[in-house]
Symmetry: C2
Subunit: 201 residues, 2 copies
């Protein structure tokens, strides 16, 4: 359940017939521009220029700026964010802590915040964000589904719904600038999803 | 656990010595302007003019535009959003469904989305949003705490953390423009928080 596949393999759902070489050059250029100039100055034009690619080539693979920005942002993530040790409480706690730590580091949180902000007024950005979330939900959900396969999770549970619950908690912390979290609090949040809050009678 | 107290009683945490009459006039003016012109044209100046109040008077009670906007937004909410029938699964499911329905109706979702977007670049707006969320978390948390008092919720659970988990799920649906939710899905989301997803052995 690692997240360290080649991005050209991982994101094939968005562009059907991407040329891996050009895609890699474009993504590399996008990542560099994002790191150097930040999300406010990120543009398809600047990426095209640096990657020596035509703008239509970029638009063939990414429907809009936000989709490309999200792909470049995703490349910065820790490839071992989704470790699967077989202990779901431990794995999800680590996931939550590392995601918030990633957002605290080097502008990544600001990048993701800027995309969410843009998505509130720009319909295309909102669709790109929803598609990105759908992919992350599927990915995190597959980790929960694996636990379901080994009968650690109840059979009736929708793994993607549980995954979205955890993402929602991470997002609300990011959006209110509360990214500091102790291991105890992260573990407590995960425990709510795993064990619930209801008293057993 | 109803939410229908006088707003001047409810929000005393932000302004210490509000004059209820002037506060009411200002909030009323703010609510009208928000409804008529939307969040993009909402300004302290416009509210001051309509309420026949000085801008310093407004700033004495609300630290910034976002705080006043959030107060005005909150007044539009269903006063019975937090019904407490003693059945937590049913109450939280209804809360989640009514919150998403409120956001779908008449611009309320767009207003809250605009505040979240502004909070991603404006520090004062972010503080106002965090303060608003803290209050909502406390309010929803007190409903969960009441269930804890009647031993429906485990004693070790942090009610506000569980409340924030539910809010995070609502926010992530709003921010990706996925406000349609069936009663089944809302109930399933609440059940994750109440019962967890882990298989009992």
């Amino acid at each position: 359940m690692n997240d360290d596949q080649d991005p050209s393999q991982r994101r094939t759902s968005i562009g059907a017939q991407r040329n891996p070489a050009s895609q890699e050059a474009i993504l590399q250029a996008a990542t560099e521009i994002l790191a150097e100039r930040g999300p406010g100055s990120f543009s398809i034009e600047a990426v095209a220029k640096r990657a020596k690619a035509g703008k239509p080539t970029i638009y063939r693979w990414w429907p809009n700026k936000a989709a490309l920005l999200l792909d470049a942002y995703h490349r910065q993530k820790n490839p071992h964010l989704h470790g699967d040790t077989g202990d779901l409480q431990r794995d999800l706690t680590r996931f939550l802590m590392e995601l918030l730590a990633f957002w605290r580091r080097g502008g990544s949180g600001a990048i993701f915040r800027s995309v969410i902000a843009e998505a509130q007024t720009d319909q295309a950005a909102c669709e790109a964000l929803a598609a990105y979330l759908a992919e992350r939900r599927k990915h995190l959900g597959s980790q929960i589904r694996a636990a379901q396969a080994r009968e650690d999770v109840r059979p009736g549970v929708n793994p993607e719904l549980a995954a979205e619950m955890l993402s929602g908690f991470a997002w609300i912390r990011l959006l209110t600038n509360r990214l500091e979290i102790s291991e105890e609090e992260a573990a407590e949040a995960v425990k709510i999803i795993l064990d619930g809050i209801r008293a057993r009678r």
